[in-house]
Amino acid sequence: MYRYRWTTAVREGLILVVAFAILVPFYLLVNVAIKSTDEALDTSPATPAHSLSLQGFAEALAGGGLLNGMLNSLIITAGSIAALVAIGSLTAYALATTDSRWGELGYLAALIGIILPFQLGLLPTYIAMRNLHLIGTHIGMIILYTGMFMPFTVFLYAGFARGLPREYEEAAWVDGASRFQTFTRVVFPLLAPATGTVAIMNGLAIWNDFFNSLIFLSGSKIPTLTIAIYAFAGGEVSRWNVIFSGLIVAILPMLIFYLFAQRQFIQGFAGGIKS
């Protein structure tokens, strides 16, 4: 009964129209970005650009703010992912395999940590970080994000670790490997699918985070990409070609990454457990 019939063709045509309508903002984004400032002022955003101008891109990149923000976001996101993968996998594995009842309790603490919204903890965290001189530093943000996303990471890893066969590590143990070697050489590679999800879901959330960046990094020497976007697009009101060029630069790294790893992105979200 699930053959491709004429009604299917109608449905396909209809959804193509809907999809194009949904994606119109991207047409406007590119169309306006490639206009010169004069043309962008004189013509409607929907009117196709009559020639390709890089004026918008040149002006958007001139201050260097967006690229600087991108670099800071890259350092903070990469550092946080590395810490979350290293600490999270070890923590979750210990919780999932320990014979002690603390394992269950720790897992429950992670689960509740996912639900508890962080807004209420922001101010105490801010004060603690200020006293430790961690405000406005890469390492401070990495510690913050590692703590913030640890419950979700432990939850993902622990769920996966429980389903792993125990024979391999026992074999390694019998062959004389130390516990830590067994973990790094046998268990961690087995956790690879979970590591992929952990890296993508946390990386996306951290790269795009604006709320926490605004609180911990606004006015600092290391603004992230979202802070740079806020400063750039919030300050520029009239030259739409410059704004749109800057926004294209800002979203391009994630867009390219997504197009390469779209299956992993979509599977990560399909579970519907991100809070």
């Binding site: 959804i15 949904i22 603390w102 510690i143 704004i243 749109f244 979509i266």
Partner: protein, 287 residues
Amino acid sequence: MAVPGWWALPGMALLLVVHYVAVGAGGVFAFTDWRGLGSFNFVGLTNFVTAFQSPTVITALWNTLFLAVSFVVLTNLFGLLLALALNRQLKARYVLRTLLFIPAVLSPLAVSYVWKVIFQYDGPLNDLVATVFGANAVQLWLGDPNWAVWAVLTVMVWTNTGIVMVIYLAGLAGVPQEIEEAAAVDGASVWARFFFVVMPQLRPTIVIATTLMLIRGLRVFDEVIALTGGGPYGASKTLSTQVWRQTFVAGRFGYGSAIALVLTLLIVMVAVPQNILTRGRSQGRVN
């Protein structure tokens, strides 16, 4: 062989400090008059009384509830429709799924600035409105207190519908095709099959998708800051923007924490029942 349990300690310590100690301390601040410097006094429920008597906070609360509820309804409606349309047969389904998910992976802040231009008085939306409904129908979308919240809602829905679509696609993948075929053979119409066969199987998916979006909706921040900054005249403020403004801009630490506690309780009231309802269930996977 079991791994020593203390291996979990560094990770658990960080988790407990950030998610329990800090949140707990925030809960205590909510009952103080602290302004960030020097000492503070416990003032009982004063902050909450002040908050609920403040027109600003009441507006923010209503906006948050309005945005969250409309957001849940619209994202789930559009997300389910797109998922049903994309489910099975279509030649372009994988390409369309990839394209329709793009808004969900981009920075909500950057996306909101794109929409800010679209909503400008001399922007593309008014061009379209003027063409279809005539020149008198154009609106000052972001500058009109009646329209500002709708503009925020539009961007929220546009950004997140792809996520809901993907969750429903996973749910639909878990509905056994044989049952639907059996119902069709027995003469059930498309609508009957949807309501009596597909929908009951989708129930856990619906719970997950609605609560996830409700929590996202209650926390709305980026879109408001980029599009309206909470304006005009405070017409599009939300609880999250108020937490940020009162605590980190105005330095009213106790008062800001009290608003954060209200927001926290709203989210917990949504999240806890969801976790109980969906415990032990697993989602289907998309391929």
